[in-house]
């Protein structure tokens, strides 16, 4: 387990060493979350690197990553713990032949199946706990998280309270398909992860897809930054930029040309309306813009 970063600079450098190019504000929020032992609440468009932060932190601090993917209807049994009912039933049956089994014995650790949240609390070296896309879970689940997020403990009615020896590093992400309750946000440090500017996107691309040449990378970034200026239903995120670059490499493209863009637009845009809007003249205009910017 590696030590926590000692300053914002240290934190930014650490993230960079693991190929995460963070803007200064994000590095600052991460640093503070680590030092103040507060959960980090990241909101932003899909594909801007919110989940990646948790993975990078796990690698950087050399800790295991426990991931809880949220979905509608997620409840305590699948998020925190569950009793092993089948085994309890068997024990009851066995006990009936011999002596009686009291319910105290029935609800003990050996019948408990820990899930992500409980695992995160009980791990000897505190892990990185990623609660991904919290906006997908329904509201009652948020209330359940409150105790965990403020005190890093979990109450199991039959057993008592389980507290973490050392608090895990918690990263919560949300795509903002709905608002998360203030009570959850209050316990966290907040950061909005937006689309990167051209310079940062280029840096990200060069680190994540080193095979792409300087010229091609610049063109890709220029094209995507241009795309984000258009009124599209779903703007491409950094994930799409990286995917597209890989696709272009697979096609052995050296520069962007209309035909290649036409063929690979589906990697960038995920709605037919958006593709129809960009294809043809709009793409040609963007390409021309990129050409002027990179040569001039």
């Amino acid at each position: 387990m590696a030590a926590l970063p000692s300053s914002i600079d240290d934190c930014a450098a650490g993230l960079l060493a693991h190929d995460y190019v963070a803007e200064r504000e994000l590095a600052c929020a991460v640093f503070l979350a680590l030092r103040l032992q507060r959960p980090l609440f990241l909101e932003g468009e899909p594909g801007t690197g919110k989940t990646e932060i948790a993975k990078t932190l796990a690698a950087l601090l050399d800790r295991p990553l426990i991931r809880l993917q949220c979905y509608e209807g997620l409840d305590m049994a699948s998020a925190a713990y569950e009793w092993n009912y089948a085994r309890q039933m068997l024990e009851i049956q066995a006990a009936k032949e011999g002596q009686r089994l009291s319910s105290d014995e029935l609800f003990t650790r050996r019948f408990l199946i820990p899930r992500a949240l409980l695992q995160a609390l009980e791990m000897p070296g505190p892990p990185v706990l990623l609660i991904d896309e919290l906006d997908r879970a329904d509201e009652p689940f948020e209330a359940f998280l409150l105790e965990l997020l403020s005190d890093f403990q979990l109450t199991i009615p039959e057993l008592g309270t389980v507290s973490a020896a050392a608090p895990p590093i918690v990263v919560i992400t949300s795509n903002r398909t709905r608002e998360i309750h203030d009570a959850v946000k209050r316990r966290c440090l907040y950061h909005w992860v937006g689309f990167p500017d051209a310079a940062r996107e280029l840096a990200i691309l060069q680190r994540r897809v080193p095979g792409a040449g300087e010229a091609l990378a610049r063109q890709i970034v220029g094209f995507i930054q241009g795309l984000r200026g258009i009124d599209l239903y779903k703007l491409p995120g950094i994930a799409e930029t990286i995917e597209w670059s890989r696709a272009l490499l697979e096609l052995n493209a050296l520069v962007l040309d209309p035909e290649t863009v036409h063929m690979t637009l589906g990697v960038l845009l995920k709605y037919q309306d958006d593709i129809a809007k960009v294809q043809g003249s709009e793409a040609a205009r963007l390409l021309e813009q990129v050409r002027v910017a990179t040569h001039g």
Binding site: E72, R178, E179
Partner: protein, 393 residues
């Protein structure tokens, strides 16, 4: 940490709080802790630290930026705040101050409002400005939305109870005890442990009314119905019976789209409708259905429209333009997108009150193929008919 920095941070937080951000004492404390860890070296780090601790939603970002800029840097603080309090007519053309500015100015210097009154000439200018932004005509039209009579309200409430049939209950992924269904192991076990023998308990998916989204047209052609429809929206958002109430999000649109979900949370219907009419700037203006639907699809749909929702689109569908007008094409496209995002799209149309109504207007014909149901809604009676019709399968 230097005492005066702490004092200033506390002051800054209070300014943010007065400007409408929810900054509790705990956040201020967190912020002071954070500043002790560093982050005072550069202005950017300092701002990032304050933002991470004091902000909790992106919408407040602009306000925070302005407050930070004014509070922590500007030497001519007083002059700037005074400039903000001057009427807009004096601002440089093309650079209107963002709407938050006034709120922020009030928060920064509450006493500034009580400063010596500007001379009479200034006041005249302010009045002129007000007439330009909030025309007499619009003020008059607001009177359409006065209070409802007791009888009307009672009738509306009865009606709303019947309208529940519009919104069938759907199974959720949570479970509730039931006589039949799958075996509930947890409950069974508890029951079994209590007595001899094996007691099986069962459970079923819990039912929930599908969430509801109301998009109501308040343009000029709809003005006769707007009040009643707003009351309808309010009634749906504040049901008498909480048990099977759907989650409701509401918007009104004319030339612009305005979210009114929060305004309708006010329990008193007249206060709620009054709050809406204060907020909405484009009462009885023109209609730009396709533009408003576009804005909804683009900026709101992902946040307020779950995939299993019922959408109530309340409009007469009178978009300007002929058949081949690009606006009608756009209307069809936006309605189709909306349709794809929800479970059913119900169009309540007051024009259907006319016997032998024919969809002649281009806007109506563009909208019609996209909706799941097209129903009349011109008065309480027609809604009653509607409810009756929905009750009989």
């Amino acid at each position: 940490m230097a005492d005066h920095l702490a004092t200033n941070v506390v002051h800054f937080s209070r300014v943010l709080r007065d400007a409408g951000l929810r900054v509790g004492t705990d956040r201020i404390e967190l912020c002071l802790q954070a500043l002790q860890l560093g982050g005072i070296a550069s202005r950017r780090d300092f701002k990032a630290t304050l933002a991470a601790c004091l902000l909790d939603r992106q919408e407040h970002r602009a306000l925070f930026e302005q407050a930070f800029h004014i509070f922590w840097r500007d030497p001519d603080l007083m002059g700037r705040v005074m400039a903000m309090l001057l009427p807009r007519a004096q601002a440089k053309p093309g650079t209107p101050p963002p709407p938050e500015n006034r709120r922020l100015a009030d928060a920064l210097f509450p006493q500034a409002a009580k400063l010596p009154q500007p001379p009479a000439e200034e006041q005249a200018r302010i009045e002129l400005d007000a007439t330009l932004t909030w025309s007499q005509r619009e003020l008059l039209r607001q009177r359409d939305f006065e209070t409802m009579t007791v009888a009307e309200w009672a009738q509306a409430k009865r009606l709303l109870a019947q309208l529940q049939t519009l919104f069938p209950r759907r199974p959720t992924r949570r479970w509730a005890p039931a006589a039949q269904g799958r075996v509930a192991w947890r409950a069974s076990l508890r029951a079994s442990a209590r007595g001899p023998g094996l007691a099986l308990r069962r459970e079923r998916p819990r039912l929930r009314v599908a969430p509801l989204l109301i998009l109501a047209d308040i343009s000029g052609s709809m003005s006769r119905y707007s009040r009643m429809l707003l009351h309808l929206a309010h009634g749906l958002a504040n049901p008498q019976q909480q048990r099977h109430a759907p989650r409701v999000a509401s918007f009104v649109f004319g030339t612009r789209l305005t979210p009114i979900t929060r305004l309708l949370r006010q329990r008193d219907p007249d206060l709620a409708v009054a709050a809406v009419s204060r907020r909405v700037a484009d009462w009885s203006g023109g209609t730009r259905i396709s533009a408003c639907l576009h804005e909804f699809n683009q900026h709101w749909a992902r946040r307020v429209l779950p995939a299993d929702a019922t959408v109530l689109l309340i409009t007469d569908g009178l978009e300007q333009g002929a058949d081949d007008d690009p606006r009608c094409e756009a209307l069809a496209r936006e309605a189709a997108r909306l349709r794809l995002r929800c479970r059913q799209l119900i169009w309540l149309n007051p024009l259907l009150r006319y016997e032998g109504f024919e969809p002649k207007a281009a806007g109506i014909r563009a909208l019609l193929p996209q909706v799941s149901q097209h129903l009349p809604a011109h008065n309480l009676a027609s809604l009653e008919q509607l409810a009756a019709m929905l009750r009989t399968p």
